[in-house]
Point group: C2
Chain length 204, copies 2
């Protein structure tokens, strides 16, 4: 088998196993076995388990970033652009079941790997948040304490999207539109109305 093909087969097996078991739970032996080779062959293609993991992280995060970049554009109203992006995002999740599970599986237990994961995720977050902050409406939608508010809006959005994505993996018969509609209802309407002066307050 050619180097490129073998490499791809290792990457596929590794993505699936990392998705299923996480970094520590996935053993090199099993990744190799699922790719139809022995461990030394894997080391001909990747320097270490950590190297393999990082390449996969970077690749899948880059693909998701690309989804945002391609869909969060245009002249139509923000609600439509957000909805289109959500839909494309969940379409990616649907088409790449292991990639999503690998990226959103929280942590690994190995501090070095954890730091790496956070680093790669943070650069992705920055890129996507940049799309939002380029919008003239941000300040109106997010509110005054911009930095902190943006970060919290990101956390809320990420929580909802990741949560729905992981749930969807276990309920694959739910149609994508329903997932997207749930995300939109939870997020967009809340944001919009909050800024229309209907924010919740403890005194209300």
């Amino acid at each position: 088998m050619s180097a490129a093909t073998r490499r791809a087969s290792i990457e596929d097996a590794a993505t699936a196993l990392f998705a299923e078991r996480g970094y520590q739970g996935a053993s090199i032996d099993e990744i190799a076995r699922r790719s139809g080779v022995t461990p030394p062959v894997l080391y001909d293609h990747f320097a270490s388990k950590q190297d393999l993991y990082r390449r996969l992280l970077e690749r899948h995060f880059a693909e998701l970033r690309q989804v945002w970049r391609e869909n969060f554009v245009g002249e139509d109203p923000p609600a439509r652009r957000v909805a289109r992006s959500f839909d494309a995002w969940f379409a990616y999740i649907e088409a790449h079941p292991f990639a999503g599970r690998m990226l959103f599986r929280d942590t690994t237990g190995d501090p070095k790997i954890e730091a790496m994961h956070q680093e790669v995720a943070a650069s992705s977050r920055a890129a996507i948040m940049g799309l939002f902050t380029d919008q003239p409406e941000v300040e109106r939608v997010i509110g005054p304490e911009l930095e902190e508010g943006l970060e919290m809006a990101w956390i809320v959005m990420r929580g909802v999207l990741q949560g729905l994505a992981m749930w969807w993996y276990e309920h694959p018969r739910v149609p994508r539109e329903r997932i997207v509609a749930t995300a939109m209802n939870a997020l967009w309407i809340g944001w919009e109305r909050t800024q229309a002066g209907e924010a919740w307050s403890a005194e209300g």
Copy 2:
């Protein structure tokens, strides 16, 4: 040191280390060392690492369940009861930094442990969802496909609460009211308005 005291010291150290490293990343040796004992002593108090982990899971989940039970009651309007519950929930998170981190750290890599975690979490979810389904307003707020809708509403809420909790651990100077307000704005307003006929639709 008395058995109860020693046991408590082991539980504290284990919670902190599980929170920091996850199940696989936390070693019995280090848990014992942090408790000021050697591993055999730990095994005098707990049958296995798995046993220790399960006891901690059950204890912390039970505490969080209790928070809901105590706060999601009363005759005041739902928005107030939800807000009060969120506030109490985040107060628990604030007071028990390691408990939250241990519970919400997603997965462990060991299928047996993962299954156990899901089992304990599911029973907690059922208890809390029961509080909601006892409310007469559920159907109005969630919509017609009740089972699936309720589950998705739970996923959305869990995603937001857990996401904010984890973010808050890294930004402890943000006051609790701000976290609670963000959660309320994200969740409650979306839910309410969705049912007021303002649901988002692809054709809109």
